[in-house]
């Protein structure tokens, strides 16, 4: 009955708020979100400081119900959560915990689509009209190598939890 009008903002973005970026010899092309959708940057010189309260969930290593439980636990406390893993799995698990999600599945590099094998997605929940909502904050997909190194970084955070 209620028309849910969600503005989904996809940003190839501004330097000061840039997150995952593709630096080429021609220019700089970034993907991130608008500032009103709070965001965190990864990679390419962007620092990540989410504090020890952040839970990183590697969905590839967890059973779906466990991953979902971790994600939901964080979101219920309005805490940011980082979800790592296969793009389709990350999308699936986030959609089971949130209303809207987005993950990169391929990079276009010199005209060719290169599948992304692992993504790191940050998600910060927001309370809107007493409902917990939120937005995908950031996607890191600067090629498998950099994503893997990012995964190691995230894993360190996870180990501190």
């Amino acid at each position: 009955m209620v028309l849910v009008l969600v503005v989904a903002l996809s940003v190839l973005a501004v330097g000061s708020i840039a997150t995952a970026s593709t630096r080429t010899h021609g220019g700089n092309i970034n993907v991130s979100q608008k500032p009103d959708i709070a965001m965190v940057g990864f990679g390419n010189g962007q620092s990540v400081n989410l504090g020890s309260a952040v839970l990183a969930v590697n969905v590839d290593n967890l059973k779906p119900e466990i991953a979902r439980s971790y994600i939901n636990m964080q979101l219920s406390k309005l805490r940011p959560v980082i979800v790592v893993g296969n793009p389709k799995r990350v999308l699936h698990e986030l959609l089971n915990s949130t209303n809207v999600a987005a993950v990169p599945v391929a990079m276009i590099i010199n005209g060719k689509e290169v599948p992304v094998k692992k993504v790191v997605v940050g998600y910060i929940p927001r309370r809107i009209n007493n409902k917990i909502g939120g937005r995908i904050l950031c996607q890191e997909y600067n090629g498998v190598k950099s994503v893997m190194s990012m995964y190691q970084k995230i894993n360190t955070i996870e180990n501190r939890e």
Partner: protein, 182 residues
């Protein structure tokens, strides 16, 4: 915004895309040349539907107004829409969209020889999509890619070029899958 339609949800998808020319940061001569972006509404879910998109093909103007709405033909009870605008100085907007295929697609052909080629440049095309209001997951695919151009001399003496042509970079960007839980 409310409607009386129990069967569908509508989403406004507003792209905000910026290209940063390499010459601005690294003085390497590469300037903005082209931006392509698209949203494929029914790439994964045939019931999803492209309701509206904007802008359409535009040339010779400095600003385009974007207005997307759910048309009365879809449901006369539905009255939703959003409007915004963005600048297109020395930019030709090519509309590559197809309602029948559920794709809204644009090519922003930037005149790299003008100021718009030298500085960061942002575009904001948009689309309204309709997905079933029923349990399930609804996905759509978004693509964006950019290309840059560099002036290359045909006859250069001590770095001074008497004539030139443009050399184009490869295309770079990403494919992103969005989803909503119905």
């Amino acid at each position: 915004m409310k409607d009386l339609n129990p069967y569908y949800n509508w989403f406004v998808y507003q792209f905000v895309i910026q290209t940063e020319p390499g010459d601005l940061y690294w003085k390497n001569g590469w300037r903005n040349s082209d931006l392509w972006n698209s949203i494929d509404v029914d790439a994964y879910n045939p019931p999803s539907h492209l309701s509206d998109y904007n802008p359409t093909t535009t040339s010779g103007v400095s600003t385009v107004s974007v207005s997307v709405s759910a048309s009365a033909s879809e449901d006369p009870e539905v009255s939703v829409g959003m409007s915004w605008s963005y600048s297109v100085p020395d930019v030709i907007v090519h509309d590559l969209s197809s309602f029948s295929r559920g794709i809204a697609s644009w090519w922003h052909d930037i005149d790299q020889s003008k100021f718009v080629g030298e500085d960061s440049y942002k575009i904001e095309p948009g689309a309204m999509i309709r997905v079933p209001q029923a349990p399930g997951t609804y996905l759509w695919k978004v693509e964006y890619r950019a290309q840059w151009a560099k002036k290359v001399g045909d006859y250069c003496i001590f770095g001074h070029c008497l004539s030139h042509h443009w050399k184009y970079s490869g295309k770079y960007g990403a494919v992103v899958v969005w989803g909503v839980a119905g």
